[in-house]
Amino acid sequence: MFGDAAFILQISLKSSVAVLLAALGETLAERSGVLNLGLEGMMLMGALTGFAVGYATGNPWLAVTASCFVGGAMALIHAFFSITLKANQVLSGLSLTMLGMGLSNFLGRGVIGRSGIRLGQMPIPGLSDIPLLGKAVFTQSIFAYAGIVFTVLLALYLSRSRQGLMIRAVGEDAAAADTAGINVVRVRYICTVVGGMLSGLGGAYLSLVYTPGWKEGMTAGQGWIAIAMVVFATWKPSRVLVGALLFGLLTSLQFYFQVTGVELVPVYVLRMLPYLLTIAVLVLVNRVLMRRGADGASGPADLGVPFSRS
């Protein structure tokens, strides 16, 4: 009984990491006013890069760094189009997703099915000896620990630091922030690119830890779920963590039923659940916010609006 719960907890944590990292990145970008729908594409390219670099060099650090770099570079494209050219951010983000899907399929053709490096679990000394909980929570990959640390750091950074205040100001009212002497363009560029790096990292987690190897379209919509997670979290990092864990729990139940052979719900319904529940959660959040008199979950006031000094 407890063993099963610990198993589910461990897999839940393990399954939530990629979505968590990507959603944290998107939170940062959206708080600065840039909507980036290219998460799926950036994650795919991050996954391919991480796997390919690890495969070629055998060096995990190099693989992870390269993934971050590629994720950031892709976000830079979006930043250029949406910030500098003031293009429609939805279209630019969609193009980025298509670019990531097409390019990763194209470039990754040669390494499908190869086995590269895999990053294992790093038990935390001492804590991992706690019965049940130690194995479930403190025996994870370094990405999982990093995800938790990033969540705390981002939450504190956005709410407590001067720079965090600047970022929020830019997202809420770019014109006013500009008047106050904040460099709107620079803040948005940095937030978008750092957000992309986190997405790339999330992708690398998938191909190096979660399901080691490269498979076309291996993110399976996790980028989109991450974007929905940001809405669910009402743009707060701590709630992003909650959302990611919920997603992880669903995925782990899928595994659990498969392993134990218990079929409470048909497998295909279980496979649909992450997407359906994401939608259900969006409905719930919007309903709650509407009841409180808000205009649905709308996020930062200047989200998606290009800034130009007139």
């Binding site: 969609l94 194209f106 295909y268 359906l276 969006l282 998606g304 290009p306």
Partner: protein
Amino acid sequence: MTAATQTSAQNAGRRLSPNTSRALFALGFAALFALVSGGVIFACYGKNPFEAYWLMAQGAFGSWYSLTEVLVKAAPFTYTGLAVALAATMQLWNIGCEGQLVMGGVFATGTALFIVPESPALVALPAVIIAGALGGALWALVPAVLKVTSRVSEILSTLLLNYVAIIFMEHLFYGPWRDPAGMGFPGTAMISEAAQLPRLFGTRLHPGLIGALFFALLLYWVMSRSAWGYRVRTAGKGPQAARYAGFDSGRLTLTAMAVSGALAGLAGMAEITGLHHRLQAGLAIGYGYDGIIVAFLARLNPLAVPVAAVALGGLMVGGEQLQSRLGLPASISMALEAALLFGVLGGEALARWRERRNALRAAAVGNEDSPAGSTTDTQDGSQEDRNVR
């Protein structure tokens, strides 16, 4: 409403002249941008870009057979392109055409297999066509209802439902609908011949393409002449516009999404009845996403959608040539598609910048002492982006 992009889109070609140069400029830039980006990729792979493009062009338009293959692809692209264009005219993002296409295919197959299996073509074909449109419409209504009642972003809901539709379809042809005589092959049984669209000229061409052209004309007419089309265009100018005009934009959202979904459903229906003749894995291969490219290449003009669809069909069929002739994965076409879309965005920005510069110059020449540029559209595009969530 300052965004000239929107105006040109909404007027659907009625006031072409002031915007034609801008459209051509943006498209020309997009094509050039995609060609150069692709060229760089080819060069990185040690292939001669000119040779690669020549092979692509030849592979797509070089023979009667390849040309018909381009048209075979253009049919679903036209349906999904029209679906995206209609929704986008109202500032709705229908990114769920893939799922609506799948549900159209599911409904069409189900009808053909279980409702009209023995009926003559006169009964079976209309039933299957209506079922296809219905499947797509119902699937698109889900995000529309969620948007109207709970203000859930249709961007996310339409997209997430794609995955659900595909899993559902796979469940059907791996499970309850699997052909018992199929030797374990994942797919349903063949639909009856009466429910199949005839093939034309001994090629894979089928009347689905003619239907697509018909719907392009019909949508153009509806958008430019009917009261409903007028409302859709007005609602596309922003929520205030609809409110001032005094109509219920919620109901309009429902009807527009339903029609949009029906068009995407027809794409799935035509693929099943015209090509596959059964439900199987090849149905969901991204035609829904391609519709986004087609719609924006056509600048949301229904009459331009078939043209853009043929262009994209050429890109796809040509891309397959690269696989067989140069050993380059055909997925390069998808990367090139993305480059095209980025090119359109870049071209728009350049055109905007050029127009503004010209306006500034004109203002400077005409009126030396007034602050120039105050009349030009500095907030260009912001209105359309406001409605994202």
